[in-house]
């Protein structure tokens, strides 16, 4: 029998049961689980844009002795058009976590939906264990890194802030490539260039900020960002998370004062 085996002969039938095996009743058409980005190829292949369409500008986060503060303006731009002017970009995730989202706003909304599902799962467990900010930041890092490795990133730059189990404030920034970074001040977009140096300059040595100082710095930074970032608007919301509570306040108006403009000569 074995000597007559012809490896090059066609099988007697296809898409059917092999002798001695359990028959797969889907008729051979097993569903391939390809990643989504590989499933819809056009006739000439696929070109996917990694450009962000509707974008949120900067988010700024400051850690202080009693918790964290996250601030972001309320504008979502469509290129250079100031399209949606009353959008909250700081989200309360649960009573320990705030998330500030910048970058492509559709991607922010998409990941927010996933995060909300996670929070509902937590509630369904009904064991009073809520997700901690460090865990959420870690999870986001893994997800964003995985997407970037598949060449299909979520084009976002987020600030995750909150308080840990023992009351310690936590502040981190996770970007579209899955890079995470923790510090007493983190920011995305233009705020990284304009606000972070401002805050660092004002940091008292060997001591955390007080709530008052953090608040003042937020106000100042939002003002500077409004003057200098062309994709910012003058209204912003601030999320505050302390061991006593977590919420998003605002919208606040930047205290704009353009009189200094007359003194500027050249650029």
């Amino acid at each position: 029998m074995l000597n007559n085996y012809n490896g090059m002969a066609q099988p007697l039938w296809q898409n059917g049961p092999a002798p001695g095996e359990f028959y797969n009743f889907t008729g051979g058409q097993t569903v391939q689980k390809l990643p989504r980005e590989l499933t819809t190829a056009g006739p000439y292949g696929t070109k996917r844009s990694t450009a962000a369409i509707t974008t949120g500008s900067s988010v700024l986060g400051i850690r202080y002795d009693g918790g964290v503060m996250l601030a972001a303006d309320t504008l979502v731009s469509y290129g250079s058009l100031a399209r949606y002017q009353n959008i909250d970009r700081v989200f309360k995730i649960n009573k320990n976590i705030l998330l500030g989202g910048s970058g492509d706003f559709a991607d922010i909304q998409s990941i927010m939906r996933n995060i909300d599902q996670k929070m509902i799962e937590d509630q369904c467990y009904d064991d009073n264990i809520e997700m901690k900010p460090k865990s959420l930041a870690s999870w986001m890092t893994r997800v964003l890194y995985n997407r970037r490795s598949r060449m299909n990133p979520l084009y976002i730059d987020v600030v995750v802030g909150g308080v840990e189990q023992n009351g310690t404030p936590y502040l981190a920034n996770v970007d579209l490539r899955g890079r995470a970074y923790e510090d007493f001040v983190v920011a995305t977009g233009f705020a990284r260039h304009l606000a972070v140096p401002l805050v660092r300059e004002n940091k008292p040595k060997d001591k955390e900020f007080t709530a008052e100082e953090a608040s003042q710095l937020i106000r100042k930074c939002m003002e500077v960002l409004y003057y200098r970032d062309t994709r910012n608007s003058s209204t912003y919301t601030v999320g505050v998370c302390t061991p006593n509570g977590c919420g998003v306040e605002g919208p606040y108006q930047v205290n704009e004062n353009w009189t200094f403009a007359a003194t500027i000569k050249g650029y």
């Binding site: 467990y125 064991d127 264990i129 997700m131 901690k132 460090k134 865990s135 930041a137 870690s138």
Partner: protein, 283 residues
């Protein structure tokens, strides 16, 4: 009782509403030596009785660490236990990788229960023949959970499983009030005292135990042999456990109904003494 008609597949109910294969799997747990788990406010402790199959074989380890905050003690088929332990370790590692924190113990045992339940509802599978006591410490404090082949998961203040474990359970019940404020060593001694009652006619000088502790600022650790010896000495110093010896019939049967032999008499020692060549069940 004529139950042979309904016991060949896991997926067949008996007219009385029982799954016999699952119940037979529970019997496999009773073949293993006794294992005790108990907890105080800050610590959870596992103590297992070890028995070598012969003088030559090394003693089977009954306690496996799963993560820094979690460990299990098993009773029943060691092969099944090893498989489950591998799964549990992967789960904990995956959780840490995603969330940078320990897997909450209650959710962990629930996911284990779900995995084990799948085997009781599938045509070509069988229930896992291993019962375990899970000891863990997380944000919610110390935990002891019992997981059985039937996939029931029970949160326990203390528990014992394995051969002749009813006497251990009785000891634990009687001393339940004392555990809350015990320190680590006292807890282990209580565990050893509980095990003493489950020895039968074994010579108590040859008692070999495995103990493990997990708790506040203490990652899960299986104690070394010298630690085990020390705890044994300490327990000996406490004297015999105060209740009646193992051969009293009152409340000593491990079986809820007549045993497989149908007689209801406490099992003979000989039937548990399985030689190394025949045994599929572990300690």
């Amino acid at each position: 009782m004529f139950r042979n008609q309904y016991d060949s597949d896991t997926t067949v109910w008996s007219p009385q509403g029982r799954l016999f294969q699952v119940e037979y799997a529970m019997e496999a747990v009773k073949q293993g030596t006794v294992t005790v788990g108990l907890k105080s406010k800050d610590y959870a402790v596992l103590v297992a009785l070890c028995r070598a199959s012969s003088d030559v074989d090394s003693i089977q380890r009954k306690i496996m660490s799963v993560d820094a905050h979690l460990g299990i003690a098993i009773s029943g088929l060691t092969a099944d236990a090893r498989q489950l332990c591998h799964y549990l370790r992967s789960e904990c590692m995956a959780y840490r990788h995603s969330y940078d924190t320990e897997y909450p113990v209650r959710r962990f045992v629930e996911s284990l229960g779900n995995k084990m339940q799948a085997t009781t509802q599938s045509y070509n599978r069988r229930p896992y023949g291993v019962g375990m006591l899970v000891a863990g410490y997380d944000v919610k404090g110390a935990h002891i959970y019992q997981v059985m082949p039937s996939a029931t998961v029970l949160n326990c203040k203390s528990m014992a499983i394995g051969a002749r474990s009813q006497s251990a359970r009785t000891y634990l019940e009687r001393n339940l009030g004392n555990f809350e404020n015990c320190d680590m060593d006292e807890l282990i001694c209580h565990g050893i005292q509980a095990i003493r009652g489950s020895l039968g006619t074994e010579d108590q000088q040859d008692l070999t135990i495995n103990a493990a502790v997990v708790g506040k600022d203490r990652p899960f650790k299986v104690l070394t042999d010298s630690d085990n010896q020390r705890c044994l000495m300490q327990a000996k110093g406490m004297g015999q456990p105060s209740f009646i010896d193992a051969f009293s019939e009152k409340g000593m049967s491990d079986d809820d109904e007549q045993g497989p032999s149908g007689s209801g008499v406490p099992r003979d020692i000989e039937s548990d003494d399985i030689g190394p060549s025949e045994s599929t069940t572990g300690p």
